[in-house]
Symmetry: C2
Subunit: 496 residues, 2 copies
């Protein structure tokens, strides 16, 4: 017991180090509530979330095998909002949100797309939690407990998650006797990948998918590993050339000071860190993460990239030179903080869970080699593999995602296969570089906005939304309306 606790604590510490370390190229795939909710108006209203009824489904642990353990079940959480539903008799549609790598409740407070549009479609809204997140963890374990068990965590995979969604959707339809109701799935970020894959793998369970900010091309050798950082760079450069230049120049300045006697102590004071810095890299990792977050969630009406750049450009250069500028950007981004860089925070389920998912199958080779405002930091598969092997004792399968879901030559493959997928993106979002930005066929289409951020289109509507965002959502729903209309016509023809 002592030994296993010790190994748990060690692996926990490693996992924190692993996830916060820049070498891990951890893409911030989750919807970061703290980023999104900088503007609290962006949250779904409490009255709306009160309309949901909570259920737990006895989910099969292992859909693909027939070992005795495969038959184990766990409680998987899902929510239903019946308020606007037109009912089974009219085959009214069912909108299903496919949860991503965080507790469902967190997502519920930001995703408004389904309920915002449910009334006009008389749609049922269903939100399903992804296995191993929130309250949907096998054996009633915490995620930490599940992840430290090499056997239990082994069932934490995307293919299992899609089969979970299929089982729950079919159960809900059967329960409501709504066999002919069309189902539209919606997913955001990793959940957006799941949504597009779900339409491709389970066309008999869903009529169509809205895949918001789904970086499905960030696998294998499909795109450059620099794709993400080059968009972050572009965002800052477009906001301000001088700001971009200052950030680019700051890294070597941090390195220079860190190497001085008491250099890290000097940097700690300069950046008002919550704890003394352990290295210059700690500061750099934080700043990289901040710039990436600002770009990914460069949300209206505040536009954090501009907030940071305005502060950097407007800073008094006499105080602390270029790092004074960078610090001005930092405090403009983090208002109301008493200290910066390394405040005491608990590690999130998203970080923990995604740490495992990346080390098993979600190998997204994000790195920096050139054309960036960051220092080079290439993704090296062998190092990544070693680190994952060290942490979990298994090696990632870097080719599985493209083997199971495909992605190479996606236009060639899907131009005559499949239908009814919207790939939505905002081009300010660095992940848009790995998204589908061209129409592939009449009904596998790309809808993007120049100014949009990560998953912005599926957030709750707000009165301050700019026109281009209102238009994007309208376009998406007109497309979905078209799918449903064609489906009803087909249904009438086949049921005659």
């Amino acid at each position: 017991m002592t030994l296993s606790w010790l190994s748990f604590i060690i692996s926990f510490i490693l996992s924190i180090a692993f996830i916060s370390g820049q070498k891990l190229y951890s893409p911030r795939l989750s919807l970061r509530r703290e980023d999104i909710l900088r503007d609290p108006k962006r949250a779904v209203s409490a009255s709306e979330t009160n309309d949901f009824k909570t259920f737990f489904f006895n989910q099969t642990l292992d859909h693909f095998n027939y070992r005795p353990e495969s038959y184990s079940t766990f409680k998987q959480k899902y929510l239903i909002n019946y308020k606007y539903w037109g009912g089974a008799n009219s085959n009214a549609p069912i909108f299903v949100y496919l949860g991503n790598e965080s507790p469902l409740d967190d997502q519920l407070t930001v995703i408004g797309f389904l309920t915002d549009n449910a009334a006009q479609f008389e749609a049922l809204s269903v939100y399903i939690e992804h296995r191993y997140y929130g309250e949907s963890i096998p054996h009633g374990m915490s995620l930490e407990e599940a992840l430290k068990d090499a056997n239990i965590r082994g069932y934490f995979s995307s293919a299992q998650a899609l089969a979970d969604f299929a089982a729950i959707i079919m159960h809900v339809k059967q329960d409501l006797k709504a066999r002919d109701s069309p189902v539209i799935v919606v997913g955001a970020s990793y959940g957006g990948m799941l949504a597009s894959w779900f339409r491709l793998k389970y066309p008999h369970v869903t009529l169509g998918a809205l895949a918001s900010s789904a970086p499905i091309l960030y696998f294998d050798d499909i795109i450059s590993q620099d794709a993400y950082s080059s968009v972050v760079t572009k965002d800052f450069k477009e906001a301000s050339e001088t700001c971009y230049q200052a950030i680019g120049d700051s890294w070597s300045e941090i390195d220079r000071i860190a190497q001085e006697p008491n250099g890290t102590s000097k940097l700690s004071k300069m950046f008002k860190t919550c704890k003394p810095l352990e290295s210059g890299d700690e500061l750099k990792d934080y700043l990289i993460s901040m710039y990436e977050g600002a770009a990914q969630y460069d949300l209206p009406p505040t536009y954090p990239v501009s907030v940071i750049c305005n502060a950097i450009d407007g800073a008094n250069t006499t105080e602390n030179g270029i790092l004074g500028k960078v610090f001005a950007g930092l405090i403009a981004y983090n208002t109301n903080s008493a200290c910066y860089v390394n405040p005491p925070t608990a590690i999130s389920q998203s970080s923990l869970g995604w740490g495992w998912q990346r080390c098993s199958e979600m190998v997204m080779p994000k790195g920096v080699t050139n054309n960036s405002m960051f220092q080079p930091d290439p993704f090296i598969l062998s190092s990544f593999t070693d680190e994952c092997n060290h942490q979990y004792g298994v090696v990632p399968r870097p080719h599985w995602i493209t083997t199971y879901y495909g992605a190479h030559d996606i236009e060639l493959i899907l131009c005559r296969f499949g239908s009814n997928i919207i790939f939505s993106n905002g081009l300010r979002d660095p992940f848009s570089s790995a998204g589908v930005l061209k129409n592939i066929s009449d009904s596998i289409v790309a809808v993007y906005t120049e100014k949009g951020a990560h998953c912005l289109d599926v957030y709750a509507e707000d009165q301050s939304d700019p026109d281009w965002l209102v238009m994007q959502r309208k376009t998406e729903f007109e497309i979905i309306r078209g799918w449903i209309a064609k489906y009803y016509a087909d249904l009438r023809a086949f049921k005659q």
Copy 2:
């Protein structure tokens, strides 16, 4: 060790009883070499099979999970015929045969479709063995050994088999630097189901599929459980009304004699059985199986249904009455036998393996309730489940196939989804009743013949082939030629 051997022997005996018992509704899904090779000309010539080179691939045991054991590998056999291949430079096509529930070598000797057409397409031919059959069994075990281990047999599933095929095809393409070569998969019977599912699940790995005699609708509540027996009945009735009548009348006559003192002994003599019968049911089970086999493999030029019916109709009724007629049919079907009904035979891999597959996921509810020349023998899911649970300690998942692959409302689902599948059937084959017999879209099409039998279109060509069979094959290949031509045009457009 003694105990485990004992339990193995018991389970082996149970498995034989289980498989031969009529209550198990075992559809003869495999290509029965003994049926097909009644006419030895039907075999692929030895010189043709000599052109194959044999390979073994290090296959992942469990593609869908990341448990430590998931990473185990086993040797999976595949064969390549390079003789006609045009090479990677010209993106020449690759035909891939997806093995079904028998050793690959057995299939190689009857499946001629790929090599018969390889020359005109300059195609590479690849044959892949299905996991757990032939020489592709994990841990170098025999199938019997693998099946008695509750853990090992648990990885014996169709989803794993499809992922195996994907991994090998991608490996072969990579090895040959043939990334842009179109792949056409071909499968027969259960392998035909796999072929159609493979195109739906892995469109990025295969351009199209020929699914020969694939009863993909024989799941859940999609079609009547009587579908199979009603086609057998129709075949016999069409061959001869009096023959059909005689068979229909024979069952109660067997029952009547079996109930007499020394009745089974009398039946044993009457039917010249190899061993004394244990019951009238043993004889009935054999006869049912014979009539089903004759209908399923009612192959030209002999047409076994007619052979049986001619003998029944021509028999001297003075000797043994109606059972004398039935016996005349039996000996006409089994020429050159010294004894009948229960000759000493080893249980085949197909029977063993399919026994497990049916008890885990391939739950095809085949039964007899009415409108048949057989006595009623309904499929009762609860009894089936009990028997499987008794034999393997697991309960079947009767809804998994329709959850993962779909099949309900297939026309509605696929009329605007997917492409490039040929469902080929021969209507004399009882499994055609569960096949797709209508075009679903421009490129998901049905090609069938009135007189065709199970998988006949993919057998090796023979000079005695009737015109309708030659035409069917020609139609199929013209469709495939069209897919490939469109693909090359798309490829040129995308690679410009």
